[in-house]
Subunit: 242 residues, 2 copies
Amino acid sequence: MPSLKKAPEATKRDAVKTRARILDAAQSLFCKHGLDGSTVEAIAKVAVVNKRMVYYYFGGKAELYLAVLEKTYANRRQHDSVLEMTEGDPEQCMRRLVRSSFRYCRNNPDYIKLLLAENLNGAKHLRRSKKVLNLHSPLLEKLGALLERGQQIGLFRAYTDPLQVYLTIASLCFFYHSNNATLSTVFGRDFSSSDSSIEREVHVEDVVLSYLKTRPSVEKKTRHQESAGHKPLEMIKHDNVN
Amino acid sequence: MPSLKKAPEATKRDAVKTRARILDAAQSLFCKHGLDGSTVEAIAKVAVVNKRMVYYYFGGKAELYLAVLEKTYANRRQHDSVLEMTEGDPEQCMRRLVRSSFRYCRNNPDYIKLLLAENLNGAKHLRRSKKVLNLHSPLLEKLGALLERGQQIGLFRAYTDPLQVYLTIASLCFFYHSNNATLSTVFGRDFSSSDSSIEREVHVEDVVLSYLKTRPSVEKKTRHQESAGHKPLEMIKHDNVN
DNA sequence: AGAAAACTTAACGTAAACGTTAATTAGGTT
DNA sequence: AACCTAATTAACGTTTACGTTAAGTTTTCT
């Protein structure tokens, strides 16, 4: 047995594990308190590690944050890549996709939190990442193929833009979870309850499928042009001052 | 003229104006950099005011933040309350509502930012507000009445829950704007462009109306129960670790 | 005009957090 | 067994930001 390490039995020093502990602690705290809200000292404490280790392994707070971000995105992509969409009833495939997306948001609050934080700062950190750029999104391609399959059997409407459909699914799944706190506060009820979540999930599935299965009429297209095409956005601008 | 103040002509001291300047500066900075990211000193500087004034007028940073929050919510409510939905073609009313909501998000990035920030911290500050609780939302009631009107002329489907419809509209309008930064980064294109925005707006309108105008089949209802009712959420849980 | 109230300012105390310097320990290598 | 390097620690310097103290200046009211 040449390169087999002996059983570590409570090894005092382990670079990989230490690094991982820091990363996990950072994710947990960044998601709870944001980048500014989390201190390097607190992260170190949770990771049971000396503060200096953060700088040793990651260089600094910002780089650590980026590492957390990339890990989170990778997890999401991995989740998407597992989805089977190339065969079977297109409607069922689509429902599976929507459900999967909804539940991913439900089960991964960290993902939600990190995206919220990034959007608050204009994706300042995400933009520094080389790993995250996704010009040819595999998910978008799979979704496009699925839409095509559905169209060909006359189930889905024609002329759908996969990107728009993707955005719609993402909106419906993400928003409910990202804005759960304010929604619950304003409406004075608990949207995070299991019952509310299931009810919402059913509705979301319904909305997406209704859209895809609706054959757009010429009449409707005309209305669209009326409503959005002619009136410039500035005309109904409202500013935010008192 | 008993209680008519004389013309101030460049008054050196003006409590209301000073207070307002602080509030505006705070809103601007809080939205750009968040609560933690903004310093009282910076706010004072933008407001052209001594730092001490923040404490004099608002008591502290947290209270100032709450004041900004309440002002922003009030502005949104005021915007909603103006909408006419009680007469005219229900479809047109609904399209107007969706468009109005979409464009409000587009034109009020501060509103978006503050909501994002609140959701990041679990609505910690918003919950301290007495003004914001909205148990009997006037908008929800107006929306319910509109749905009813549409149903009665056979235009909209029956059994719609106004709350779910509201959430759907909010999702579709809010998400595109709240997540514009990360979406643009990941897909490598500019979703904030006027063209993208208009294209999205048309799609969103289309999605909402498709849902409302689709008559749910019995078959579909059965599928829903299959898909969401029986399988418990825990069964497809994914955790966020590597 | 004078006093009181409202408003404004400068300067300071204190605490917390980032990142660094430099010394120390453990593990594997020769 | 001595050694060398990777991993770890303690302690410190510096900056920054919150909030306060106490004193000054307008405005307003009598």
